[in-house]
């Protein structure tokens, strides 16, 4: 007796759940699609500020940057993407030696965009910006120098 009741109950429950499922998919069918039609929508595209597109070294109005060539970002990078070249400059008046950055080389092709370098920097000299259209035809063009002087 119980198994007969079980049969009918399971049948109705099954049918009901199938119909609920179909209702859900129909609702999705008529929903506005969230696909972004790139590149047709480039004018109105909004990329979040914290999107990690490429590494930059922000320079102020006179072209000064905050990097002191400490090399913490180079050590923090898991990929070996960053290479810092610096020289020891001797200040003429005081005779003090100071490390000065000559070239900050960033290989965009091998970067993992993990942001470890930005977090390691003690002076916020480097940061990520949200530009993402960086396709080029040779990998050599992806090796960039971030500092401007």
């Amino acid at each position: 007796m119980n198994s007969i009741k079980e049969y009918f109950v399971s049948f109705y429950k099954g049918l009901k759940s199938l119909l609920i499922g179909m209702k859900v998919t129909l609702r999705i069918f008529f929903r506005k699609k969230t696909t972004e039609c790139y590149p047709e929508n480039r004018e109105t595209l909004v990329i979040a500020d914290r999107f990690r597109g490429t590494l930059t070294m922000p320079h102020d109005a006179e072209g000064n940057h905050k990097c002191i060539a400490c090399g913490l970002c180079e050590i923090a990078c898991p990929n070996g993407t960053l290479h810092i070249e610096s020289v020891i400059e001797v200040n003429e008046e005081t005779g003090k030696k100071k490390k000065v950055l000559t070239r900050y080389m960033y290989d965009h092709g091998s970067c993992m965009f993990c942001q470890m370098c930005v977090r390691a920097c003690p002076y916020d000299a480097i940061c990520f910006e949200n530009s993402f259209e960086h396709a080029v035809f040779t990998r050599a063009k992806l090796v960039k120098q971030l500092n401007k002087k």
């Binding site: 049948f11 199938l18 499922g21 179909m22 859900v24 998919t25 129909l26 999705i28 069918f29 929903r31 699609k33 969230t34 696909t35 039609c37």
Partner: protein
């Protein structure tokens, strides 16, 4: 309503006017074959496009939209790709059976396709056991699938083919019983008569409860029959690496693919013919003006509109439900659908005998 018999008669008299009878007949056969195959291919293209777009819309994304406006040329590109692929010959497979299997499947599909009444006067095969013939012929496809799996010399293809065979044979029973239910209501197996008997109301309305139950069972059994939707275990990519058609490439795979889509079309077309009036417009007895307006819409458009709705429902099944395991699938048929079907058939017989239908 425009009767296509006018066109066919005109072609017939034209041919007989300048050719001897046998030659005219031969030319007519060739023309009919050509139209059939062209319609087959065009409908397949439309269905492939429809499937990809509808699948995408159910998954909250846009389908193909790059190849041509709204992606309309996408199925043509797919077809060209399939045609230029290399046909790989298996090493230890049974070569003759391996090559023959796709043809058996496609032949059964085209034969079933030829029975469908598309519009008033536009039927190719129309004899007094029409629906019975359609059912018989669509069963030939099972042989093709079993052959494909067996001759591939591949364990997984074999398992896929056996499962597919078991599934299709089981669901043939359900389809046969639902068709029998509707034949009881219509009183004839001839497809054109079935459509004409629905001039005063489609069978799903005149045969109320049992017709509706038969329709639901037919849709479920139909999707199972064509190895589609939640019943596609024999060809599921993640289960059996494409099952019985694993070893096929190029146009041979194209035949299986095409046959699957066209079988879905045949299932939908038979559903519209038996339940929703075929090419008959919506007539509500008593509202003569409304009926006259409905008559203005050409019957071909009525037919394809209804088939489109049926196909949408079949695709809705596929993209809503998870796949059934082979034991669950067979259990559904033998323990649930078959008893319901038998009771429904009895109900329909009672209704027809006592005249309780509209």
């Amino acid at each position: 309503m425009f009767d296509f018999a006018v066109v066919t008669q005109w072609v017939d008299t034209l041919l007989r006017s300048f050719l001897p009878d046998q030659a005219a007949l031969l030319v007519e056969f060739l023309l009919v074959g050509l139209c059939l195959l062209t319609a087959y291919a065009l409908i397949a293209l439309a269905l492939i496009y429809g499937e990809r777009k509808i699948c995408a819309w159910f998954q909250c994304r846009i389908g193909p939209n790059r190849v041509g406006p709204y992606g309309l040329i996408q199925p043509v590109a797919d077809m060209v790709k399939m045609l230029i692929k290399e046909l790989i010959d298996m090493n230890h497979s049974d070569k003759f059976l391996f090559r023959v299997a796709p043809f058996i499947v496609i032949i059964s599909s085209v034969l079933a396709f030829g029975c469908i009444p598309f519009a008033k006067g536009l039927e190719i095969l129309d004899f007094n056991v029409g629906i019975f013939f359609l059912l018989a012929v669509s069963s030939i496809g099972i042989v093709g699938i079993l052959l494909a799996g067996w001759s591939s010399n591949n364990k997984f293809s074999l398992i896929g083919a056996m499962r597919s065979g078991a599934q299709m044979i089981s669901y043939e029973l359900s389809i046969g019983l639902t068709i029998l239910t509707m034949v009881v209501l219509s009183g004839s197996m001839q497809l054109s008569t079935i459509v004409e008997n629905q001039a005063n109301g489609w069978f799903i309305f005149t045969g109320h409860i049992p017709a509706f139950i038969a329709f639901v069972i037919y849709m479920i059994a139909g999707t199972a029959e064509t190895n589609r939707g939640p019943f596609d275990l024999p060809e599921a990519d993640s289960e059996l690496t494409a099952g019985y058609h694993t070893e096929y490439s190029g146009i041979q795979f194209g035949f299986f693919y095409l046959a699957e889509y066209l079988n879905m079309f045949v299932v939908a077309a038979v559903a519209t013919t038996l339940f929703w009036g075929g090419w008959m417009p919506l007539h509500i007895p008593g509202f003569d003006n409304f009926n006259m307006i409905m008559d203005y819409i050409p019957s071909l458009l009525w037919f394809f509109g209804k088939v489109a709705v049926m196909i949408f429902i079949i695709m809705w099944f596929k993209w809503t439900f998870p796949r059934l395991r082979i034991d669950q699938l067979l259990r559904l048929e033998w323990k649930y659908l078959l008893p319901i079907n038998l009771i429904n058939l009895m109900l329909m017989v009672i209704i027809v005998v006592f005249g309780l239908h509209f």
